[in-house]
């Protein structure tokens, strides 16, 4: 029963757990002022976990372990690596945030949520899936409201908790109905049991709609996006970055597995609904972004729009489609972490995060401005950054599936995106501080920021130029679904 494959299938999770325990033990012995160094430990530990998993834990043929609870395949594995990378970057970005960097429990909560995400990516059973989603969410509720003295942060935490609980109740109800109709909770057996002919289409539609509410909340597609801007704005910035990247990607990991493995028959009849959702998500997300004056809210709304772009790949309902979604998410994780990282590094020094406060940044710190340029151009879909290739792949998949109209909607939205992203860069590069003395207001970067931002910026460029290996991995991951 307990073979080495069983162990290997949860190797990353085990390593994360070991790391968490290690931090739990070590942290109290650190002096209060040195406690930010837990960040180094977390990030280093996660990187080590990535390397160990890559060396020993690569999946072979897709196998079911733990009595079918967990699926050991490339789809899950690739997402796990992405999440752990995002977690490592976030831990480094935590360090010099005064409110959370000195507190060991922040890193523990981060790891706990990471553990949940890793399990989300590999869950092959509705029960396991629900547990994983809750394991991910609960630490994130706490992290969002971490700054107790800050009203906005408390509000963010509470709002996220309420909305999250509601959405997950819907999803759980959906799961229970699925179990009622099919008599099994295993995703890979649902295919057999949850047949189209044995079930009225409207019933199946209703059940899937309930599940979609829960997942839609996670990936923040319209109309389940309401929480995102408030939470992103209120939560500590590194947490917002983590929420908008890893948490969203985890939702997508579940979404593709669920739709392609458990309900393939219904997936085909669902695509039009998803296509419309995707179009609405892009459009609403972008139109709302246009009028934002706060950089975190801008990134929040734009992250809603990006969920819409990625959905095009799901709608395409093909292997290339899933590949492009995974590629999109990989590029998006790097890019958005970079964007939030730059915002963090800036507001740590200046204490403000309105867009107009970024005036003169290119003179205050040219390198930070360049990294911001890379992040925003990548978000806008410009080469040589990752966003361009990712978008083209998603559009390619969309056109292949015959959704030319959806691709046109995507294109119109990219244009809106270019407008507001460039608008921010206008403040960074063109406008000056009120008294034009940028020389006396430098924005220095501390070492963790410097390392993280440099790595992320290089990653964004690398994924946008040498895209073959990334595509290969995404393709290997997508292959396991077909």
């Amino acid at each position: 029963m307990f073979t080495s494959t069983t162990f290997l299938s949860i190797l990353p999770e085990v390593l994360i757990l070991v790391l968490a325990v290690l931090i739990f033990i070590v942290e109290p012995f650190w002096k209060a002022e040195g406690r930010r160094n837990v960040g180094w430990l977390t990030a280093g530990g996660l990187l080590a976990a990535i390397i160990v998993s890559l060396l020993f834990g690569q999946p072979g043929e897709p196998t079911a372990t733990f009595g079918g609870m967990i699926r050991f395949d490339w789809l899950g594995f690739f997402f796990k690596l992405l999440f752990m990378f995002a977690g490592a970057a976030t831990a480094l970005l935590f360090m010099d945030n005064e409110k959370i960097g000195q507190r060991g429990e922040a890193y523990l909560l981060l790891l706990a949520s990471l553990l949940g995400m890793d399990l989300m990516a590999v869950s092959a059973d509705l029960v396991m899936l629900y547990l994983a989603i809750e394991t991910t969410s609960i630490p994130l509720y706490v992290l969002s409201g971490f700054m107790l003295a800050d009203k906005k942060s408390t509000e963010a935490g509470f709002k996220y908790l309420l909305f999250g609980a509601l959405a997950s109740a819907f999803m759980l109800y959906g799961f229970s109905l699925v179990f009622g109709f099919a008599g099994t909770t295993n995703l890979y057996q649902l295919v057999e049991m949850f047949k189209a002919e044995s079930l009225p289409l409207t019933t199946a539609f209703g059940v899937l709609a309930l599940i979609l509410v829960g997942l839609g909340f996670k990936v923040s597609i319209v109309p389940f996006h309401f929480w995102a801007p408030d939470v992103y704005e209120g939560a500590p910035t590194p947490v917002s970055g983590f929420l908008s990247t890893a948490s969203k990607a985890a939702g997508f990991a579940v979404l593709v597995r669920l739709f392609f493995v458990a309900f393939p028959e219904f997936a085909a009849s669902w695509t039009l609904t998803l296509a419309i959702l995707s179009a609405i998500t892009m459009t609403v997300g972008n139109l709302l972004t246009l009028q934002q004056t706060n950089i975190k809210r801008l990134l929040a709304y734009s992250s809603v729009a990006h969920a819409g772009y990625a959905m095009i790949g799901v709608v395409a309902l093909s292997q290339l489609g899933v590949t492009s979604v995974i590629f999109y998410l990989a590029a998006y994780i790097l890019t958005n972490l970079l964007a939030f990282g730059v915002v963090m590094a800036f507001s740590r020094v200046t204490g403000v995060d309105e867009i107009r406060d970024f005036s003169g940044l290119s003179r205050r710190n040219p390198w930070l401005a360049l990294m911001m340029l890379a992040a925003f151009l990548s978000l806008a879909g410009m080469p040589p950054f990752g966003g361009f290739v990712a978008k083209v792949f998603v559009f390619t998949a969309g056109v292949q599936a015959g959704y030319v109209w959806l691709v046109f909607v995507g294109i119109i939205n990219s244009i809106i995106g270019v407008y507001y992203y460039l608008n921010v860069m206008k403040f960074v590069y063109l406008y000056r501080m009120p008294n034009e003395d940028e020389e006396n207001h430098p924005v220095p970067l501390t070492r963790p920021y410097l390392i993280t931002l440099t790595v992320l910026a290089l990653g964004v460029i690398l994924i946008g130029t040498v895209f073959a290996p990334w595509f290969g991995w995404s393709d290997a991951a997508a292959l396991t679904l077909f």
């Binding site: 559009f395 270019v418 073959a468």
Partner: protein
Amino acid sequence: MNFPVLSAITFTPMVAALIILMMPSHRRNETRAVALASATFALLLSLWVYFSYDQSLGGYQFVEKYNWLPALGISLHFGVDGMSAPLVLLTGVVMFTGVLISWGDEDPHVKAGIQDRPREFFAFLFLLAGGVFGVFVSLDLFMLFFFYEIAVFPMYLLIAIWGWVVTREYAAMKLTLYLFVGSVVSLVGVLVMYWTQYKNTGILSFDMLVMENAGFSQALQIAWFLPVFLGFAVLGGIWPFHNWSPDGHVAAPTAVSMFHAGVLMKLGAFAALRVGIMLLPEGAKYWSWLIMTFAGIAVVYGAYIAFVQTDMKYMIGFSSVSHMGLVMLGLSTLNRDGLTGAGVQMFSHGVMTALFFAVTGMIYDRAHTRMIPELGGMMKIMPFAGVGFIIGGLVSMGMPGFSGFVAEFPIFMGVWQKQWLVAVIASISIVITAAYIMTNIRKVFFAELPEKLHGHVGDITVLDKIAIVTLCILMIGLGLFPGLMVPMVQTGVENILRLLGGA
């Protein structure tokens, strides 16, 4: 010949951009020196490509191919033919002269060239140049888009940061959005072509040489020709979508105007030819009347609007619309003469308009005005610039002995064969062009120097003079020895005619 010269040309500016960014920002002259050195290197490489292109063989030469993403058929496939080799040379020349005139003069009374953050300026400019080279040499559609977008977005920063204070934000955003809309519309068309090819032949490839044989149905070609062609032609300044271009020209700093009018607009025309006409020939035949109408209107309308401008830069901006209209007119004929003319006109206009913008920039930097009525007597102050402008003007009018004649004559011949009426109407533009160029020369260079400008307007720098001489030599050289370019362009045209079915 194993040296990957086309990759070297494409990546030289990009590597230079990185090196320049790494330099400390206060080493301004060192930054400029690195910029000039790499621009010279790129110019030498492009000269080498141009002169070692074997005209007797024709076809694509210096071909390099690296599989970039075999799963989707994306490759880094470079090669030049008779159409693109002159444009590569043009880019090298404009890059070189652009750096020369951006060096400027640190004297606070003159403040010519780029004095604010030259490091960032040259880095963005070179990124742009790399993108332009990339488009001209790419034989892979994916990479073509990749480089195309790289050539577009630095424009925004270059214009918004270093442009003319009054209109720069508006113009930069307008330009970027126009070009981005155009390119993504083309992208959808290309993706449709890509999947149709897969359906027809079972080959997944973005390679244009493969796509030539994809066997697109006539219905598909007719349906998608306009989005693809016009999407690119927006950057070529085609008539109903030309609006961004004069605004962009005016707002841009001098070197960027040179790049913009001299090279970027060719990028649009070239990509429209490569992707629109060469891959969708049936569509091109079907719609050629529409393109010809648009182009005909652009030629006359652009010239007329240029005639009534009082701002020198707007005048040249609209003259670019007019001259690029001639290029489009040549393309729309789809016959040997018209296409040859269009190919040469792209080069000729590029050099000419770069010169115009360079001289205008020099005058503006020193006189602080570009309004024609407020200027005068520049011939005495900066004779070099004056002579250069006059030579450019003669080219613009299509005077024999200059490159403009070599380019425009075949275009009109080609149009005449197709539709004589259009040729007659378009030729009106020559008269109007002559009128506004002559008026401008008389007023700006030969009239009395206005009181206001007495004393504080000085001559141009040595580097400016080198730039002007370089550009003039090219225009006169091509005018006197058309054999230097015309046969080469013709080899490229033969290939296009083959795709068009020997029309």
